[in-house]
Symmetry: C2
Subunit: 189 residues, 2 copies
DNA sequence: GTCCGCATGTAAGAAGTTACATGATTCT
DNA sequence: AGAATCATGTAACTTCTTACATGCGGAC
């Protein structure tokens, strides 16, 4: 569903475009929002055209097809925006790694968290290169702001967690972590 | 890959378990970290057993199979934890909705953001019901902390964005938003 | 003429969702 | 006896990834 919404959104926001154009937008403006490759985009455009959400407005050279959003397409998009409440993804590799760090020795866990922190910092720099969200009030600005806040929050989490590990882990070995684990892995035996 | 890691992690952290037990854990402890249903879990366990990462330790009543992690399984898990750096999911419905809100009239956009804010607040309450991460130092504690911070950050983003919309949107209609949009939808025509 | 970027597609497979199907045990 | 829960599986479908495949048009 969401791929479809992303395509309708781009066609609505930036006007008629080809599959190729749209693919480029997924690689740039939408890169940190919704990823999709051309092998997914072309078939989806064909389906949407068959369902009347978009139409082929013109055909250019090299078989280039220019799609335009139809009123039905705008309706569908508007309905999704107004009627659907997205939840955070129920699958996060980051949360999974966080969940499992107590399996590691404290020294190893700190190393993993430092690496994660560095990766969040790298992402933050990458997003900041895209511009200042407070100055960019149109498409992408709000999502960019959200991404930047997310990266910052994750960095803080990583360093606070390292601090917590260092505080409770100094001068001890595997034993303490293992004892911890037994008690906290929820109420089962 | 990550489903496999989650299963190995659970078997490593909580000891031998059946597919049924593991399915229950995905519904409880792992619910906000990694979701998977039994129809995905059973075949994956069979594959992992065939590859020697886990073994059937015992068979109980009702055909219940108790799986145990093998040294090879522990290796695989340890390698993933130490050697793999997860990135944020490249597809976020929340970010997509944020990206597209400028397509709406300011009043509609505010309504959408208020609804999102309420949903983040609900998630925060749900996570807080699971316990205080500062007191829960074992499995789940770090991931829970991350989830709580994430929910709080998203709430702040939503209310700041509403404030931004209200500031720039008071006393205007669709026209201003549309002009904004044209300029900001990245460098194309 | 050949290389590069434009432009579109298909195919095979992994991952995830929803629904179907079945049988054993325990509780009332 | 009937209902609920335990316990395992398969099938069909959607979504996403990676790789294969083809042809046009402009630049050098």
């Amino acid at each position: 569903m969401s791929l479809r919404i992303a395509l309708l959104g781009l066609l609505s926001a930036s006007g008629p475009a080809s599959g190729y154009d749209l693919t480029k937008k997924f690689e740039t403006s939408l890169a940190h929002v919704w990823q999709a490759g051309h092998s997914q985009i072309y078939p989806e455009l064909a389906k949407m055209a068959a369902e009347g959400l978009i139409t082929v407005e013109a055909e250019g050279s090299r078989g280039r097809k220019i799609y335009t959003i139809t009123p039905e397409g705008r309706d569908e998009l508007h309905r999704w925006l107004m009627g659907y409440t997205p939840s955070p993804s129920p699958r996060s590799e980051i949360a999974l790694q966080a969940y499992l760090t107590p399996l590691l020795e404290p020294r190893e866990a700190v190393a993993v968290l430092e690496r994660m922190g560095a990766s969040f910092a790298a992402r933050l720099r990458e997003l900041q290169k895209l511009g200042d969200p407070s100055k960019k009030s149109g498409y992408g600005g709000y999502a960019l702001d959200l991404g930047i806040r997310q990266a910052r929050m994750a960095m803080e989490w990583a360093s606070d967690t390292i601090a917590h590990l260092s505080a409770s882990g100094t001068g001890t070995d595997r034993a303490e972590g293992a004892a911890d684990a037994e008690g906290a892995a929820d109420s089962e035996g």
